[in-house]
Symmetry: C2
Subunit: 141 residues, 2 copies
Protein backbone atom coordinates (compact mmCIF):
# COMPACT_ATOMS: atom_id res chain seq x y z
CA UNK A 1 0.00 0.00 0.00
CA UNK A 2 1.44 3.38 -0.97
CA UNK A 3 2.34 5.54 2.07
CA UNK A 4 -0.17 8.33 1.51
CA UNK A 5 -3.11 10.00 3.19
CA UNK A 6 -5.84 11.77 1.25
CA UNK A 7 -8.56 12.73 3.69
CA UNK A 8 -8.91 13.22 7.43
CA UNK A 9 -12.54 13.42 8.47
CA UNK A 10 -13.56 14.82 11.84
CA UNK A 11 -16.94 13.79 13.19
CA UNK A 12 -18.86 16.84 14.40
CA UNK A 13 -22.11 17.32 16.27
CA UNK A 14 -23.07 20.68 14.75
CA UNK A 15 -21.82 21.37 11.24
CA UNK A 16 -22.84 25.04 11.39
CA UNK A 17 -20.75 25.52 14.52
CA UNK A 18 -17.80 23.67 12.97
CA UNK A 19 -18.03 25.76 9.83
CA UNK A 20 -18.05 28.88 11.97
CA UNK A 21 -14.85 27.75 13.66
CA UNK A 22 -12.80 26.40 10.75
CA UNK A 23 -14.05 28.67 7.96
CA UNK A 24 -15.12 31.94 9.57
CA UNK A 25 -12.81 31.65 12.58
CA UNK A 26 -9.55 30.17 11.31
CA UNK A 27 -10.12 31.57 7.84
CA UNK A 28 -9.78 28.24 6.05
CA UNK A 29 -11.61 27.83 2.73
CA UNK A 30 -14.53 25.48 2.15
CA UNK A 31 -14.30 23.74 -1.22
CA UNK A 32 -17.16 24.27 -3.65
CA UNK A 33 -17.82 20.54 -3.20
CA UNK A 34 -19.03 21.28 0.35
CA UNK A 35 -22.75 21.45 1.06
CA UNK A 36 -25.09 21.53 4.06
CA UNK A 37 -24.17 17.94 4.95
CA UNK A 38 -20.39 18.02 4.68
CA UNK A 39 -17.48 20.47 4.50
CA UNK A 40 -14.21 19.80 2.67
CA UNK A 41 -11.12 21.97 3.20
CA UNK A 42 -7.91 21.71 1.15
CA UNK A 43 -4.88 21.47 3.43
CA UNK A 44 -2.38 21.32 0.56
CA UNK A 45 -3.30 18.14 -1.26
CA UNK A 46 -4.77 16.61 1.89
CA UNK A 47 -8.44 17.16 2.56
CA UNK A 48 -9.94 17.91 5.96
CA UNK A 49 -13.55 16.75 6.05
CA UNK A 50 -16.17 17.78 8.59
CA UNK A 51 -19.12 15.41 8.77
CA UNK A 52 -21.75 14.53 11.37
CA UNK A 53 -20.20 12.21 13.91
CA UNK A 54 -23.09 9.70 13.94
CA UNK A 55 -23.12 9.45 10.15
CA UNK A 56 -19.34 9.11 10.06
CA UNK A 57 -19.49 6.24 12.56
CA UNK A 58 -22.25 4.61 10.55
CA UNK A 59 -20.26 4.96 7.32
CA UNK A 60 -17.35 3.13 8.95
CA UNK A 61 -19.78 0.56 10.46
CA UNK A 62 -18.77 1.70 13.96
CA UNK A 63 -20.63 2.83 17.06
CA UNK A 64 -19.76 6.35 18.27
CA UNK A 65 -17.54 6.19 21.36
CA UNK A 66 -16.98 8.69 24.11
CA UNK A 67 -14.12 10.98 25.04
CA UNK A 68 -10.70 11.25 23.44
CA UNK A 69 -10.49 8.77 20.61
CA UNK A 70 -6.74 8.47 20.44
CA UNK A 71 -5.99 10.68 17.43
CA UNK A 72 -4.26 14.05 17.51
CA UNK A 73 -3.61 16.41 14.62
CA UNK A 74 -0.71 18.83 14.55
CA UNK A 75 0.38 21.85 12.63
CA UNK A 76 4.11 22.55 12.72
CA UNK A 77 5.35 26.12 12.67
CA UNK A 78 8.69 27.71 11.84
CA UNK A 79 9.27 29.34 15.25
CA UNK A 80 8.06 29.55 18.81
CA UNK A 81 6.54 32.95 18.04
CA UNK A 82 4.46 31.36 15.24
CA UNK A 83 3.20 28.74 17.70
CA UNK A 84 2.13 31.43 20.14
CA UNK A 85 0.38 33.40 17.39
CA UNK A 86 -1.46 30.37 16.00
CA UNK A 87 -2.72 29.30 19.42
CA UNK A 88 -3.91 32.85 20.04
CA UNK A 89 -5.70 32.87 16.67
CA UNK A 90 -7.36 29.53 17.38
CA UNK A 91 -8.63 30.64 20.77
CA UNK A 92 -9.93 33.88 19.27
CA UNK A 93 -11.76 31.74 16.69
CA UNK A 94 -13.48 29.85 19.49
CA UNK A 95 -11.11 26.98 20.28
CA UNK A 96 -10.53 25.80 23.83
CA UNK A 97 -6.92 26.05 24.98
CA UNK A 98 -6.00 22.59 26.28
CA UNK A 99 -2.34 23.26 27.01
CA UNK A 100 -0.50 26.56 26.80
CA UNK A 101 2.61 26.50 24.64
CA UNK A 102 5.74 25.46 26.49
CA UNK A 103 9.09 23.76 25.91
CA UNK A 104 8.63 20.00 25.48
CA UNK A 105 10.63 17.02 26.78
CA UNK A 106 11.69 16.18 23.19
CA UNK A 107 13.34 19.54 22.61
CA UNK A 108 10.54 21.36 20.84
CA UNK A 109 7.87 23.87 21.81
CA UNK A 110 4.16 23.18 21.59
CA UNK A 111 0.65 23.71 22.89
CA UNK A 112 -2.76 22.19 22.21
CA UNK A 113 -6.21 23.52 21.46
CA UNK A 114 -9.48 21.64 21.05
CA UNK A 115 -11.92 22.38 18.25
CA UNK A 116 -15.66 22.76 19.05
CA UNK A 117 -16.05 18.96 19.19
CA UNK A 118 -13.01 18.44 21.38
CA UNK A 119 -10.73 17.19 18.59
CA UNK A 120 -7.22 18.08 19.79
CA UNK A 121 -4.81 20.02 17.59
CA UNK A 122 -1.21 20.47 18.60
CA UNK A 123 0.63 23.54 17.37
CA UNK A 124 4.34 22.84 17.46
CA UNK A 125 7.80 24.10 16.66
CA UNK A 126 10.09 21.15 15.98
CA UNK A 127 13.67 22.35 15.45
CA UNK A 128 14.66 18.88 14.14
CA UNK A 129 12.19 18.74 11.26
CA UNK A 130 12.30 21.36 8.53
CA UNK A 131 9.35 22.64 6.52
CA UNK A 132 9.57 23.21 2.78
CA UNK A 133 8.21 26.30 1.03
CA UNK A 134 4.75 24.76 0.79
CA UNK A 135 4.85 24.02 4.51
CA UNK A 136 5.34 20.29 4.10
CA UNK A 137 7.38 18.47 6.71
CA UNK A 138 10.89 17.42 5.68
CA UNK A 139 11.05 14.32 7.85
CA UNK A 140 14.55 12.82 8.07
CA UNK A 141 14.62 9.55 6.05
Amino acid sequence: MTPRISVITLGVTDLVRSRRFYIDGLGWKASSTSDEHVVFIDLGGIVLGLYPRDLLAKDATLVPGTGFGGVTLAQNMKSKAEVDAALRDAVEAGATLLKPAADTFWGGYSGYFADPDGHPWEVAFNPFWGLDEAGRVLLPG
Copy 2:
Protein backbone atom coordinates in the same frame (compact mmCIF):
# COMPACT_ATOMS: atom_id res chain seq x y z
CA MET B 1 -3.98 30.23 10.79
CA THR B 2 -2.54 28.67 7.63
CA PRO B 3 -4.63 25.75 6.30
CA ARG B 4 -2.07 23.00 6.81
CA ILE B 5 -1.57 19.75 8.64
CA SER B 6 1.84 18.40 9.58
CA VAL B 7 1.33 15.37 11.77
CA ILE B 8 -1.43 12.87 12.49
CA THR B 9 -0.68 10.82 15.57
CA LEU B 10 -2.50 7.59 16.29
CA GLY B 11 -2.57 6.40 19.88
CA VAL B 12 -1.62 2.73 20.06
CA THR B 13 -1.60 0.14 22.84
CA ASP B 14 1.31 -1.94 21.56
CA LEU B 15 3.93 -0.14 19.52
CA VAL B 16 5.59 -3.41 18.43
CA ARG B 17 2.29 -4.65 17.01
CA SER B 18 1.65 -1.31 15.27
CA ARG B 19 5.12 -1.31 13.78
CA ARG B 20 4.53 -4.86 12.54
CA PHE B 21 1.33 -3.71 10.81
CA TYR B 22 2.38 -0.37 9.30
CA ILE B 23 6.05 -1.08 8.60
CA ASP B 24 6.38 -4.83 8.04
CA GLY B 25 2.81 -5.34 6.83
CA LEU B 26 1.92 -2.32 4.71
CA GLY B 27 5.55 -1.74 3.79
CA TRP B 28 5.65 1.87 4.96
CA LYS B 29 9.00 3.27 6.07
CA ALA B 30 9.88 4.27 9.61
CA SER B 31 11.91 7.48 9.72
CA SER B 32 15.32 7.30 11.37
CA THR B 33 13.85 9.65 13.97
CA SER B 34 11.71 6.77 15.24
CA ASP B 35 12.77 4.88 18.35
CA GLU B 36 11.31 2.35 20.79
CA HIS B 37 8.85 4.94 22.11
CA VAL B 38 7.48 6.45 18.90
CA VAL B 39 7.33 5.75 15.16
CA PHE B 40 7.20 8.44 12.47
CA ILE B 41 6.25 7.65 8.86
CA ASP B 42 6.49 10.13 5.98
CA LEU B 43 3.23 10.21 4.02
CA GLY B 44 4.47 12.80 1.51
CA GLY B 45 5.19 15.85 3.64
CA ILE B 46 2.64 14.77 6.23
CA VAL B 47 3.85 12.64 9.11
CA LEU B 48 1.96 9.70 10.57
CA GLY B 49 2.98 9.21 14.18
CA LEU B 50 2.38 6.10 16.27
CA TYR B 51 2.61 6.71 20.00
CA PRO B 52 1.25 5.02 23.11
CA ARG B 53 -2.37 6.01 23.55
CA ASP B 54 -2.11 6.83 27.27
CA LEU B 55 0.95 9.03 26.73
CA LEU B 56 -0.71 10.74 23.77
CA ALA B 57 -3.77 11.53 25.88
CA LYS B 58 -1.54 12.81 28.67
CA ASP B 59 0.41 15.02 26.25
CA ALA B 60 -2.85 16.61 25.12
CA THR B 61 -4.03 16.86 28.77
CA LEU B 62 -6.93 14.50 27.99
CA VAL B 63 -8.28 11.30 29.48
CA PRO B 64 -8.36 8.30 27.11
CA GLY B 65 -11.90 7.61 25.93
CA THR B 66 -13.49 4.46 24.65
CA GLY B 67 -14.61 3.26 21.23
CA PHE B 68 -14.65 5.19 17.97
CA GLY B 69 -13.29 8.66 18.60
CA GLY B 70 -14.86 10.36 15.63
CA VAL B 71 -11.89 10.57 13.28
CA THR B 72 -11.42 8.60 10.07
CA LEU B 73 -8.43 8.59 7.74
CA ALA B 74 -8.72 7.88 4.05
CA GLN B 75 -6.47 7.00 1.18
CA ASN B 76 -7.86 7.78 -2.25
CA MET B 77 -7.02 5.58 -5.19
CA LYS B 78 -7.17 6.03 -8.95
CA SER B 79 -9.61 3.20 -9.68
CA LYS B 80 -11.97 0.70 -8.11
CA ALA B 81 -9.43 -2.03 -8.82
CA GLU B 82 -6.82 -0.13 -6.78
CA VAL B 83 -9.30 0.10 -3.89
CA ASP B 84 -9.85 -3.66 -3.98
CA ALA B 85 -6.11 -4.34 -4.10
CA ALA B 86 -5.30 -1.97 -1.21
CA LEU B 87 -7.99 -3.45 1.03
CA ARG B 88 -6.69 -6.92 0.24
CA ASP B 89 -3.12 -5.80 1.07
CA ALA B 90 -4.25 -4.25 4.36
CA VAL B 91 -6.11 -7.37 5.46
CA GLU B 92 -3.11 -9.51 4.52
CA ALA B 93 -0.99 -7.20 6.67
CA GLY B 94 -3.28 -7.88 9.64
CA ALA B 95 -6.01 -5.24 9.35
CA THR B 96 -9.63 -6.02 10.15
CA LEU B 97 -12.00 -5.48 7.27
CA LEU B 98 -14.75 -3.20 8.57
CA LYS B 99 -16.65 -2.73 5.34
CA PRO B 100 -16.04 -4.47 2.01
CA ALA B 101 -15.60 -2.10 -0.91
CA ALA B 102 -18.86 -1.14 -2.60
CA ASP B 103 -20.40 1.69 -4.57
CA THR B 104 -21.26 4.62 -2.27
CA PHE B 105 -24.28 6.93 -2.11
CA TRP B 106 -22.10 9.86 -3.21
CA GLY B 107 -21.07 8.24 -6.45
CA GLY B 108 -17.75 6.75 -5.43
CA TYR B 109 -16.47 3.35 -4.38
CA SER B 110 -14.97 2.61 -0.99
CA GLY B 111 -14.37 0.23 1.86
CA TYR B 112 -12.91 0.46 5.36
CA PHE B 113 -10.34 -1.42 7.36
CA ALA B 114 -9.31 -0.99 10.99
CA ASP B 115 -5.69 -0.97 12.09
CA PRO B 116 -4.63 -3.08 15.12
CA ASP B 117 -5.99 -0.40 17.49
CA GLY B 118 -9.28 -0.05 15.66
CA HIS B 119 -8.40 3.23 13.94
CA PRO B 120 -10.55 3.23 10.79
CA TRP B 121 -9.04 3.82 7.37
CA GLU B 122 -11.24 4.27 4.33
CA VAL B 123 -9.85 3.27 0.95
CA ALA B 124 -11.76 5.13 -1.73
CA PHE B 125 -12.10 5.88 -5.40
CA ASN B 126 -13.61 9.33 -5.84
CA PRO B 127 -14.25 10.06 -9.53
CA PHE B 128 -14.87 13.75 -8.74
CA TRP B 129 -11.49 14.46 -7.17
CA GLY B 130 -8.32 13.99 -9.16
CA LEU B 131 -4.94 12.99 -7.79
CA ASP B 132 -1.72 14.63 -8.97
CA GLU B 133 1.44 12.70 -9.82
CA ALA B 134 2.54 12.71 -6.18
CA GLY B 135 -0.85 11.32 -5.19
CA ARG B 136 -2.10 14.58 -3.67
CA VAL B 137 -5.80 15.31 -3.89
CA LEU B 138 -6.81 17.97 -6.42
CA LEU B 139 -9.83 19.25 -4.50
CA PRO B 140 -12.07 21.57 -6.57
CA GLY B 141 -11.66 25.14 -5.25
